[in-house]
Amino acid sequence: MTVEADDSLDAGEQGCGELVMLIFEKMKSLAPGRTLLVAAYDAAAEVDIAAWCRTTGNDLLAQDTHARPKRFWIRKRV
């Protein structure tokens, strides 16, 4: 599964608060409505990123948790 992305972030092995902080910082540079592709290896990446999106109001458009690294497409809230 792929979705067109405007920018990307390689989060490597980062997890827990460090993972979402990386995403938070990266999203600052995106305009509202733009999409960020995040690549992450963390065991809980899908749990953490989904929770972060729900909490912040950003849209988790798609995810591929079978890929290595896992991939997540997040659209910045308008």
């Binding site: 997890g15 827990c16 979402v20 963390d42 065991a43 809980a44 749990v47 909490t55």
Partner: protein
């Protein structure tokens, strides 16, 4: 259903604290609460089969029994991945009721109104 988050940082390094955390967690489950125990720092070891089996505190049931009662009645164990990885544990072998979850779902759970206790 109300929510209760118990933040636990210890395992065999502090049996009293570890056991009492699950005594209180079970009180929450018994009261019909949605209870999550967030295992972080040394507590991540409790999610590995067998590593909780010899932990006990005088006056209480063994931790193994408390854990089984907790997860068997719907209590959830969230395991911090970086703390787990830092200790070289096997991430493909967690006890029943345990799953990996980091800071974001903890924050979400609290933002939803969960009360919290920290041990």
């Amino acid at each position: 259903m109300s929510k209760l988050l118990i933040n636990l940082t210890t395992a065999k390094d502090n049996p009293d604290k570890t056991v009492v955390a699950f005594v209180v967690a079970n009180a929450g489950v018994a009261a019909g609460q949605e209870v999550v125990v967030f295992l972080n720092i040394e507590a991540v070891r409790l999610a590995v089969p067998g590593l909780a089996d010899d932990i006990a505190s005088p006056g209480f049931k063994p931790l193994k029994e408390l854990l089984e009662a907790f997860t068997g009645n719907g209590g959830k164990l969230w395991v911090c991945p970086p703390c787990f990885n830092a200790r070289g544990l096997d991430k493909d072998n967690l006890i029943a009721g345990a799953s990996f979850a980091g800071g974001a779902p903890v924050v979400e759970f609290l933002a939803q109104g969960a009360a919290s206790l920290s041990y």
